[in-house]
């Protein structure tokens, strides 16, 4: 049979990753101050099982490196479990490094590689296991002198069975054990060599087994029973015999049942994420095709048009329902994100020597998978900032009359079609005044503008690139680099970011996000013969203007908008399209860019509509300034601008 493992690769990788994440989350939980006492009894089993699954799946995929490392981790976890102990911080560090390494190796495997296990990690796991567990030597088994087997009871005959286990068998002693067990099923074992005890201990020298069994069955039946057992190189069954000793039948080994968890297994079907993306594409196409039909109806004579429109209405309702269901199928619980948080916080807390606990609520809330992917990094960043800059050292906290352990809360909740994510800490808080001063000093904002900001607005100044990266502000405000990236991600998802903070009491970042990113309102604009879409969430306003009448700074026209002015760039020249000739009245769309607000000069504002956004593939995905494509009712494809990257390009 053709045995092509590659087709299982994607499933292998995704399933293995889940085990890696669960293992990592479990290890962190194990370390929480009250983690051990509160851990359910089966907790160690659970960790062990994840390592075990990783090993088994890797072995099946012939990923020997991954299997080896997972096997060693399993051994260590098994050893701790057997002793009812929990590894110390050093041990957890090592196990987490191993988990990380496994994650990396699985990724490599997914890309077609066959990574080898790090010898260093394997050695360290070995050391951890032997340091923590007194290796109990297997009890030596004395071979008793074979006493003469008593005669078979009347009515039964003694049958002698000689079995050799095949060379290729990877578990010969179990084969032997199985033979003995099957023979027990049809008679009474009078003697066995090796003994049942030895077989249990995994000893079967020479891969051969000889058993005497007292049975009422004919020889043919004994042969039939043995024929059902695999991996036996030779089987000889004959009447009579006088060979080995019969050990008394041993009590069965104590079984170790898996503890049942409190939850019922959920019946689910797993489908590839790409398939759901495909469904969404098709549902989106249907919506577009429907609006195209509606367009066509406008050209129909009145009588015909009414019936046509009714049909289209019905079609649209069904299509919308389908679209909604597909969207619902893409919803993923936030646990995929929240499971990563304690680990991230722990690593940083350990590095910075702070005490931090992370509490999560609402991780059962479901959001669109694409949104989850996008929002993970920003939330992790906010969490790291909270540990790094928000939470004070234990000594400082005690002096301030706080609990020595800082608390970071990550909560999620739904409000209609939005999901609200909050990251709050009980740390030192941010200083709005200092941020105003720093932003002014950086030239990021005018003095008057800074003064007119509310405190909540001023706190968001930490998201300005020049401000957030400045060392002084980091020290004063307690917020580090990368806040601009956080805000950009949130805004690219059509979400908003807000901050509340009180000095000495803590800070709360709030992300308000749509539940889905696949449908967004866009503003359609025309440049020359090109029609382009700009996400409405990025647009602050639009107005008509004659560029040549505008005041210029360094040759760039300045457009008066609100209280200030914004530089105007010609969208036509940005995208390489020929725009309207100079002197024409143009429209200016005011939008956000890397360097603050800008105006984009376009030939015409066409209007606003809800667009089903489809990601770009192939070379188009690499074009800076384009984020997605949508199709108009008339069937025309329209690119959606990524204004940030467009202007930076």
């Amino acid at each position: 049979m053709n045995w092509d493992l590659s087709k299982y690769l994607a499933l292998y990788v995704s399933e293995s990753r889940e085990h890696v994440d669960a293992l990592s989350a479990g290890l962190v939980r194990l370390e929480q101050p009250d983690g051990v006492s509160q851990a359910p009894a089966g907790f160690a089993d659970e960790l062990f099982r994840h390592a075990h699954s990783l090993k088994g799946m890797a072995a099946a995929m012939q990923q020997d490196g991954i299997a080896l490392l997972a096997h060693r981790a399993e051994d260590v976890l098994g050893a701790f479990r057997a002793r009812g102990e929990v590894p110390g911080a050093e041990g957890i560090d090592l196990l987490l490094s191993v988990t990380d390494a496994l994650g990396g190796m699985i990724q490599e495997a997914g890309a077609g590689g066959r990574p080898a296990a790090s010898e260093e990690l394997v050695a360290r796991l070995g050391a951890l296991q032997s340091s923590s567990v007194s290796t109990r030597p297997a009890p030596a088994i004395d071979e008793p002198a074979p006493p003469a087997a008593p005669e078979p009871p009347p009515g039964l005959r003694r049958i002698r069975v000689e079995v050799a286990v095949a060379e290729g068998s990877r578990a010969p002693s179990i084969r032997g054990f199985l033979v003995v067990k099957r023979l027990e099923g049809i008679g009474t074992i009078a003697s066995s060599r090796p003994s049942g005890e030895e077989l249990r201990a995994g000893r079967m020298p020479g891969r051969t087994l000889s058993v005497e069994v007292d049975t009422g069955e004919p020889i043919a039946e004994v042969e039939r029973t043995l024929a059902q057992i695999s991996e036996l190189a030779s089987v000889r069954v004959e009447e009579g015999g006088a060979a080995a000793a019969a050990p008394p039948p041993e009590p069965p080994l104590r079984s170790a049942p898996e503890p049942a968890a409190g939850t019922e297994p959920v019946r689910t079907v797993r489908v590839r994420a790409e398939m759901l993306d495909g469904f969404l594409d098709v549902a989106g196409e249907l919506l577009l095709a429907t609006s195209r039909l509606r367009e066509l109806g406008k050209a129909m004579p009145e009588g015909l048009r009414r019936a046509h429109d009714e049909g289209v209405d019905r079609l649209q309702a069904i299509t919308k329902d389908l679209h909604g269901r597909v969207m619902a199928a893409r919803m993923t619980p936030l646990t995929a994100l929240s499971d990563r948080l304690p680990r991230a916080a722990r690593d940083l807390a350990r590095r910075t020597g702070k005490q931090v606990e992370v509490v999560m609520t609402g991780s059962e809330i479901e959001v669109d998978r694409a949104l989850l992917d996008e929002v993970s990094d920003p939330v992790l960043h906010l969490l790291r900032n909270a540990v790094d800059h928000g939470i004070e050292t234990a000594a400082y906290r005690i002096a301030a009359g706080k609990r020595p352990t800082g608390r970071i809360e990550v909560s999620a909740r739904r409000e209609r079609d939005r999901v609200i994510l909050e990251v709050s800490d009980d740390g030192q808080g941010m200083d709005a005044g200092a941020l105003r001063r720093a932003a002014v000093a950086r030239g990021a904002i005018a003095v008057e503008a800074a003064a007119s900001l509310t405190d909540a607005e001023a706190l968001l100044l930490c998201c300005l690139p020049g401000v957030s990266t400045s060392r002084e502000v980091t020290d004063v405000s307690g917020r580090g680099v990368g806040m601009d990236a956080v805000r950009r991600s949130v805004e690219s998802l059509s979400g908003t970011l807000s901050v509340e903070s009180r000095r000495g009491e803590g800070t709360r970042f709030t992300l308000r996000l749509p539940l889905t990113v696949a449908m967004q309102p866009v503003l359609l604009v025309r440049v020359g013969s090109e029609v382009l879409a700009i996400p409405v969430s990025k647009v602050h306003g639009a107005a008509h203007a004659r560029l040549e009448t505008l005041e210029r700074v360094d040759g760039t026209p300045q457009f008066v908008f609100g209280d200030g002015t914004v530089p105007v760039l010609d969208l036509g020249s940005l995208i390489g399209a020929r725009g309207a000739p100079a002197g024409e009245r143009r429209s200016v769309v005011v939008t956000d860019s890397e360097s603050g607000r800008i105006g984009l000069a376009v030939d015409q504002l066409i209007g606003q509509q809800d667009a089903v956004l489809k990601p770009l593939h192939g070379p188009l995905a690499l074009v800076p300034g384009l984020s997605a494509v949508t199709v108009l009712g008339n069937g025309r494809p329209v690119f959606v601008l990524d204004v940030h990257r467009l202007v930076a390009a």
């Binding site: 049979m1 045995w3 299982y8 499933l11 292998y12 399933e15 659970e46 099982r49 075990h52 699954s53 090993k55 088994g56 799946m57 072995a59 099946a60 995929m61 012939q62 096997h71 990877r170 578990a171 002693s173 179990i174 054990f177 199985l178 067990k181 077989l199 249990r200 995994g202 024929a227 059902q228 057992i229 695999s230 991996e231 069965p252 080994l253 079984s255 170790a256 049942p257 898996e258 049942a260 968890a261 297994p265 797993r270």
Partner: protein, 121 residues
């Protein structure tokens, strides 16, 4: 055609085993992801034989095998074990398992064990 129930907590393993049996001329009548489900499905589907992973959540393959064989002493349960699980396999045999295969396995390994135990499909 002999009917098989596949029990493994990894979807990936179930897919693999399912394909092995499909190509080997067996009918895969059901799948279960843990021991509890395995026992339930066994009673519902009455397969000719069952392949059983050992380490699974909710209820282990050993417990499930014990229950299945207790309810139907003629039930054929074949354990799918990983290397290094000898003790567990012995326990499963005590519990009534008919045979075992050791992961990672080749399709031929699985099919030859099964054909020995239940006869050709």
């Amino acid at each position: 055609m002999k009917r098989v129930l596949i029990v493994d907590d990894a979807i990936f393993m179930r897919n693999m085993i399912r394909e092995i049996f499909a190509a080997g001329g067996f009918e895969v009548v059901g799948e279960a992801a843990n021991g509890l489900e395995a026992v339930e499905k066994f009673h519902e589907l009455r397969p000719d034989f069952t392949t059983m992973d050992i380490v699974m959540p909710f209820q282990s393959g050993i417990e499930a095998t014990r229950e299945i064989v207790k309810a139907d002493p003629s039930a054929v349960v074949i354990m799918c074990s990983a290397l290094g699980q000898e003790a567990l396999v012995r326990e499963a045999i005590e519990a009534g398992a008919s045979d075992f295969v050791v992961k990672p396995f080749q399709p031929e390994d699985v099919l030859s064990v099964v054909k020995k135990v239940v006869g050709e499909s």
